[in-house]
């Protein structure tokens, strides 16, 4: 890795450290039980108008079951709205290129994908979706699916923090406040910065120009910056264009790239601090932050170094992959010159450690080990730093598992934040831990055996298996990035990946809310000399160990047949 690559990495960490703690404290105030939050004078009247319009009682506290039911109802309505917009787009306005209705199976997949905060794209944005569908369907879901994820997190933290309580808050209030007070202001700011960097923001269709050599070239138009901002901040990842943030109109240069990469990470990292503030123990938040930062940093350095290292097969063909004063070097197939291997590797680790899934380079073209690391980062369950809301939930579930294992080792009843962890919670934790691997490996195994599923592969041999594994790792974790050589627009993949996304969203959210409900009802036990402290480096290390063991035992055999064997045979 070059000196500039290290500086770039350090600059991103510095930008995150300078912003995440403050944002975290603000987020804690937005979701906290306190009476006042910053910005009440401005947001208060708007929120009250929203509640009146929707006939929602903002003071109506919900038990975990009705909180979950509200979330499910909202997701179902969202799914229907996105599906309808895609099917009806030729009859609706703002379709300057005259795009036809989206095919039913693709429309199903996309509607699931955006309502679950996955943003897997079984379509090319510029050639499939009208501006209206992008704005009213996809951009809206970018906001509200992210806000729904954060709402669940707020409910989970309340479950941990409250004593002998029956309720977890109100879903509609959390949804509204998350959208209005966190996502909208941040997105507006980031969108304008991006537009200043060259990301397009207009309502035009295609412009056709004549190139210097006399050929016709189409220059696309559209409101990209506004969608890119929320796609990053809400860890959504669905691009305005097919090639996502590799497209120069979505990510014009190194500066926009830096802002977009920061935007992927800032809320997930800030949520660690919000957690500390909401449970009134900042040390707990810092421990969670430490886990997130450490794993993300290791993955980032690994991917940057592997991509900068290039491919031995190209060396043999007389291709110069060395880093010199005149070139970045590295494995540049599927990467942009303006980003080079370092910014591409850093982004890959950021997008797979969160449930973002946007890309600025083609992961399918990465070196086998580099692409494998991206896959592993998703297989950890996307908790370092994790998607907005759902990522922190996953990490806290892992912490509960670590507490439980530690309790077994010393023969004490495990406790987390003073609450006893008992059989009911552990059953839900296991349901959470097993849901994602079951669909990931189950569907991947079925795909390997079905000839029509194999016909979709863009690559053969171990790399073909990697495409399938990556696809289900991405959808089952609501990530959305792809080894894009796989043609996922077939009936098999649109259907099974749609199901994987549903399981990856709701089979994790519902157990989390159930755990929250049961924890909220408990009375915290006072800490004694025998209590395992959960803010120490020792405990953080143990949680990382539990994550690595769970992911390793589950996925190592599959990884050995895909990226590992491919890297060894290069």
């Amino acid at each position: 890795m070059s000196g500039a690559a290290w500086f770039q990495f350090a600059a991103l960490i510095a930008a995150l450290l300078a912003t995440a703690p403050f944002l975290g404290r603000y987020i804690a105030a937005v979701y906290g039980d306190g009476e006042k939050a910053p910005g009440d004078r401005f947001f208060g009247p708007v929120e009250r108008a929203v509640y009146r319009l929707c006939r929602v009682d903002p003071d109506g506290e919900q038990r975990w079951t009705s909180y979950a039911l509200s979330l499910l109802a909202f997701s179902a309505v969202s799914f229907l709205a996105v599906y309808a917009l895609q099917r009806l787009q030729p009859a609706l306005p703002l379709n300057p290129v005259g795009l036809p209705a989206v095919e039913p199976r693709v429309a199903f997949n996309v509607a699931v994908s955006f309502a679950t905060n996955t943003n897997w794209q079984a379509y090319g944005g510029e050639s499939t979706m009208s501006h209206l569908t992008q704005m009213l369907g996809l951009t809206v879901q970018n906001f509200v699916s992210a806000a729904a994820g954060m709402a669940v997190m707020a409910a989970f933290i309340r479950g941990l923090a409250r004593r002998r309580a029956a309720t977890l808050g109100n879903f509609w209030v959390d949804l509204t406040r998350g959208t209005l007070r966190i996502l909208l202001p941040l997105s507006t700011l980031v969108a304008l910065v991006l537009a200043g960097c060259g990301v397009i923001q207009n309502l035009k269709g295609h412009t056709v120009v004549t190139t210097l050599e006399g050929a016709a070239q189409t220059i696309p138009g559209g409101p990209a910056a506004s969608q890119v901002a929320i796609k990053q901040l809400g860890t959504n990842g669905g691009g305005f264009f097919d090639m996502n943030s590799a497209h120069p109109f979505e990510n014009a240069g190194a500066l926009s790239n830096f802002v977009e990469n920061w935007a992927i990470l800032v809320i997930p990292f800030a949520l660690a601090f919000a957690f500390g503030a909401m449970v009134r123990d900042r040390r707990q938040g810092r421990a969670v932050f430490g886990i997130m930062l450490t794993v993300w940093a290791v993955m980032s350095i690994g991917t940057m170094a592997l991509e900068a290292g290039g491919s031995p097969r190209l060396d043999a063909l007389g291709v110069d992959q060395s880093a010199t004063a005149d070139q970045s070097g590295g494995y540049l197939e599927g990467k942009e010159v303006r980003f080079g291997p370092a910014a591409s590797g850093l982004w890959a680790a950021s997008t797979t450690g969160t449930s973002n899934g946007s890309v600025n380079a083609m992961h399918d073209s990465f070196t086998p080990a580099g692409g494998g690391l991206a896959m592993v980062h998703m297989m950890f369950g996307e908790v370092t730093p994790g998607g907005v809301g759902v990522g922190l939930n996953g990490l806290l579930v892992m912490a509960v598992l670590a507490v439980f294992i530690a309790g077994l080792m010393v023969g004490r009843t495990p406790e987390y934040l003073g609450k006893k962890i008992q059989a009911a919670e552990m059953k839900l934790v296991m349901l959470y831990v097993l849901a994602m691997p079951t669909v990931l490996l189950g569907f991947a195994a079925a795909s390997v055996l079905l000839p029509p599923a194999l016909a979709s592969l863009g690559n053969t041999g171990p790399h073909g298996l990697s495409e399938i594994l990556y696809g289900y790792a991405s959808t089952a974790n609501n990530n959305g990035s792809a080894f894009a050589g796989l043609d996922s627009s077939t009936t098999w993949y649109t259907t099974t990946m749609g199901l994987a996304m549903l399981v990856g969203r709701f089979f994790l959210i519902i157990p989390v809310l159930a755990i929250a409900g049961s924890m909220a009802a408990k009375r915290p036990a006072p800490a004694t000399a025998g209590t395992l402290p959960t803010h120490t480096p020792l405990f953080a290390g143990m949680t990382v160990g539990v994550m690595a063991i769970v992911a390793g035992l589950t996925f190592l055999p599959a990884l050995a047949l895909g990226p590992i064997v491919e890297q060894l045979s290069l």
């Binding site: 500039a4 770039q8 319009l53 929707c54 509200s70 109802a73 309505v77 969202s78 090319g124 050639s127 704005m135 951009t139 809206v140 970018n142 949804l175 959208t179 996502l183 909208l184 304008l192 537009a195 200043g196 060259g198 923001q201 309502l203 295609h206 120009v209 004549t210 050599e213 070239q217 901002a229 929320i230 264009f241 014009a252 240069g253 190194a254 500066l255 491919s311 097969r313 190209l314 291709v319 110069d320 004063a325 005149d326 070139q327 494995y331 540049l332 197939e333 599927g334 303006r338 080079g340 600025n360 083609m362 399918d364 073209s365 690559n459 053969t460 041999g461 790399h463 491919e566 290069l570």
Partner: protein, 191 residues
């Protein structure tokens, strides 16, 4: 149960207006007012005619022009895409070998000369506007000869179209091919 669904529908409708209409239109208005040229796609004009975008690469074949990177989609701006072939794909390796041979032949390099990696690999978007400085340097002599000008003159133009790292550390240095070829036509027209 039904109340949950009516609340959900109402909520989605209100939030759709705020995030799906007010937000993108407000951002469009502000971006157009503040950065109209960039928000419209950084269109480059010559003699009042639009000839492309600063940010979108164009195909160039002529001897007297600098050539961009290979593109999986032939620089079709209505589309975007990479090759998405893994590093062990034999077809990709054959393509890279053929591109390297062609590059050496075009630019009068020795048969075993090393070729810059960006010159023989396809970008992610298929629309990469840049090549590396190393790649541009190797094409300089060919372009200078085709235009009948001094190599040093062309090298000066290459330097003029080189964008450094943002803030000194972010991203990588690159030469904008369209900007460079426009400058060539302006200052060293083909005889």
């Amino acid at each position: 149960m039904l109340r949950q669904f009516t609340a959900a529908a109402g909520m989605l409708a209100v939030l759709t207006v705020l995030t799906g209409l007010v937000y993108p239109l407000a951002v469009t208005g502000a971006a157009q007012a503040a950065f109209g040229h960039r928000a419209d796609g950084s269109i480059v004009e010559r003699d009042g005619e639009a000839v492309g975008s600063e940010l979108i690469g164009q195909p160039f074949d002529g001897e007297g022009y600098f050539h961009p990177r290979p593109s999986a989609i032939g620089y079709d701006g209505a589309d975007s895409g990479g090759a998405n072939l893994g590093p062990s794909d034999e077809g990709l390796l054959e393509d890279i070998e053929a591109r390297a041979e062609e590059y050496r032949a075009e630019n009068g390099l020795a048969d075993d000369a090393e070729v810059p990696v960006d010159a023989v690999t396809a970008s992610a978007s298929g629309l990469d506007p840049h090549i590396t400085v190393a790649n541009a340097r190797l094409q300089t002599a060919r372009v200078a000869q085709a235009r009948g000008v001094d190599t040093a003159e062309v090298a000066r133009l290459v330097d003029g179209s080189t964008t450094g790292r943002a803030l000194g550390v972010l991203g990588e240095e690159g030469v904008n091919v369209l900007e460079l070829n426009l400058a060539l036509d302006e200052e060293a027209p083909v005889p």
